[in-house]
Symmetry: C2
Subunit: 106 residues, 2 copies
DNA sequence: TACAATATGTCTTCTTTCAGACATATCTCA
DNA sequence: TGAGATATGTCTGAAAGAAGACATATTGTA
């Protein structure tokens, strides 16, 4: 029971706090959209539409949480994202809130 | 900056994972809708519409996460909610997922 | 006695979000 | 050379969610 609850909760977090998960993932290493999609799908066992992902990545860049540079390999262009200091602060704030949630200090 | 980020994240969690926050609150002590509303509003500094709260509480009871009994005091009726074992399991699963989030074991 | 607070509920309109299609181009392997 | 994978983007119709009104009754206080 608890295991299925956990899967459900993970899915809810991915759905509602996807941007933070992306920041966390890119924080481990710079990554481009397509790879992010595959990583999220294998890590969390969820489907991630590219039609949802790419606009979100662009929005995170516009907000200053991510910075991108285009890498060209042959004729193929990859938009590689790095996390910014602002992005790292957001992730730190998230982890801080989660700790309070667990300790019930809210 | 981090503080305003924290407020934003708390608001997002309340918005998207309100049911879990209600379970956590009722877990500390049995409570009725109106008191829950006031508690959430002071604890998290957010506004909680009663038009959103009452249907959610009823839904949580229908799912078996909460159980209610009506307490009559004079002519006034309070619907006091208790958390069920199933509800406790859901909260445990949530805390477990949060721990994994912090430790990046996801 | 009138107003604010306590107490619980529904319902409609508006807004936001979501799923999936539409669109294009390269690369690899059979 | 054709199919599947890589790679990134937009757009629209449908579904879900939110805000606020509508609804009713009691209690306490000025």
């Amino acid at each position: 029971m608890t295991e299925s609850f956990k899967k459900e909760i993970v899915q809810r977090i991915i759905k509602n706090l996807l941007d933070i998960q992306l920041l966390k993932l890119i924080q481990t290493q710079p990554m481009w959209g397509y790879k992010i999609k595959k990583q999220v799908e294998t890590n969390f066992e969820v489907k991630l539409r590219h039609g949802a992902l790419y606009p979100l990545l662009n929005a995170l860049e516009a907000k200053g949480f991510l910075a991108s540079q285009k890498q060209q390999q042959g004729g193929r262009i990859r938009k590689v994202y790095n996390i910014t200091n602002k992005g790292k602060e957001y992730v730190e704030a998230y982890d801080s809130v989660l700790k309070e949630q667990i300790q019930n200090k809210t």
